[in-house]
Symmetry: C2
Subunit: 235 residues, 2 copies
């Protein structure tokens, strides 16, 4: 009788996570926190050199957060999409469709996590933009017919993600999707970040309001000088 | 030198609160909690007799929750709108426009708190309905040009509101509106219910997603067998 091997740690079971738009604030912050949790992360950018530079900076910051951090790689978006098993879309809304359309083949068969918020800004603050497909996540589903789309990480403050003095997050992540295995995997991913928790919050057809709610949190931030997040109670 | 009189308690400073649709689950639950907190409450219904019956039942339940509870009155919707200084709209979405349109004069100059969620339901659960005006609260603003509209109380579980074994609520109330004095007053109203807190969450133009988010919480409730609520963190 031989002893069973120890279970593979969750961070490596998750597989390599690609982050399209990983040089922006949201993508960089997620890369930092996932790398610190031991997840292999590839930052993608339109310009591979810029991705490589960000990856180097994030690697140093992640190692400072947690000595078990994995080094981060930087690649062009297409290579990032090919390399990763699960891909987070963290590009600005203005580049959403143009970034995803050429990646349909590279992303086929993979879980794509959309955290993009289609928002406009004027003198009165932020407001939700109308998206012909219904939401950013539904646009991703339309552009990437071979991928499994999950919507998540909309409400996590990029300021707090990038603040290395913040060891833990008082925030849940609403996870939406039509495929149970995929939403479970993204909930597991969220749970790797200390203090964070992934909570299932419905099908993709209900993603518009979750994206748009970010406009409300921006209003809350202005009123209270805060970095507001959301916790779901009784769960 | 005379001593200053003691400050008027917040519950009486709020004034008489009318609840249109106060015989439904949401309205009845809010009436119960506000009456228990000492707020004078008038339940409104299309049928005055039904309002009076609900008022009697709620008065008994409120007195059981808190001996300082105020008795609840029941009236037809028009008399309820006339009597109250602040009116909560808790009718089903299907009756929203028809209830409010004839009350424009009675509600002029008053704060009207809309907590209606325009939702549809099918085999896959709840989903957000499109509203020509943009949201239930924006429809109220269009139908009641002389009133000050606030959107609030969308995510408070009516099951928990009506459960007299629940003494306290682990839930925030997102309060939206374009008039600071009105949103402050509704935040004060929410804070009268133990455990509840009113958090400013933007202008009325951002009310659609707050109403629609109730569809997500219904999905969360089904998955986790819960009565999900929302807390805003870092505020």
């Amino acid at each position: 009788m031989t002893a069973a091997p120890p279970p593979e740690p969750l961070a490596t079971r998750i597989g390599t996570v690609g982050i399209l738009g990983g040089t922006g604030d949201q993508g960089r912050g997620l890369a930092l926190r996932l790398a610190a949790a031991g997840v292999p992360v590839v930052i993608g950018s339109r310009v591979a050199d810029r991705a490589a530079q960000a990856a180097g900076e994030v690697s140093v910051a992640a190692a400072g957060l947690d000595p078990r951090a994995t080094p981060v790689t930087g690649l062009g978006n297409l290579d990032c999409a090919r390399r990763a098993g699960l891909v987070v879309v963290a590009v600005p809304w203005s580049g959403h469709a143009a970034t995803l359309a050429p990646l349909a083949e590279a992303l086929a068969g993979k879980v794509v996590v959309d955290c993009v918020n289609p928002l406009g800004f004027d003198a009165q603050g932020a407001f939700a933009l109308d998206v012909p497909e219904g939401s950013a996540a539904l646009q991703a589903a339309s552009l990437l017919p071979g991928s499994t789309i999950v919507a998540a990480f909309h409400h996590v403050s990029s300021v707090l993600l990038n603040d290395v003095t913040e060891a833990s997050f008082d925030s849940d992540v609403m996870v939406l999707g039509d495929d149970r295995a995929a939403t479970d995997r993204v909930q597991d991913l969220a749970a790797l970040i200390p203090g964070m928790r992934g909570v299932y919050a419905g099908r993709l057809r209900n993603s518009r309001q979750v994206e748009a709610l970010t406009a409300n949190l921006i209003s809350t931030n202005r009123r209270y000088k805060a970095h507001a997040g959301v916790r779901i109670t009784d769960v």
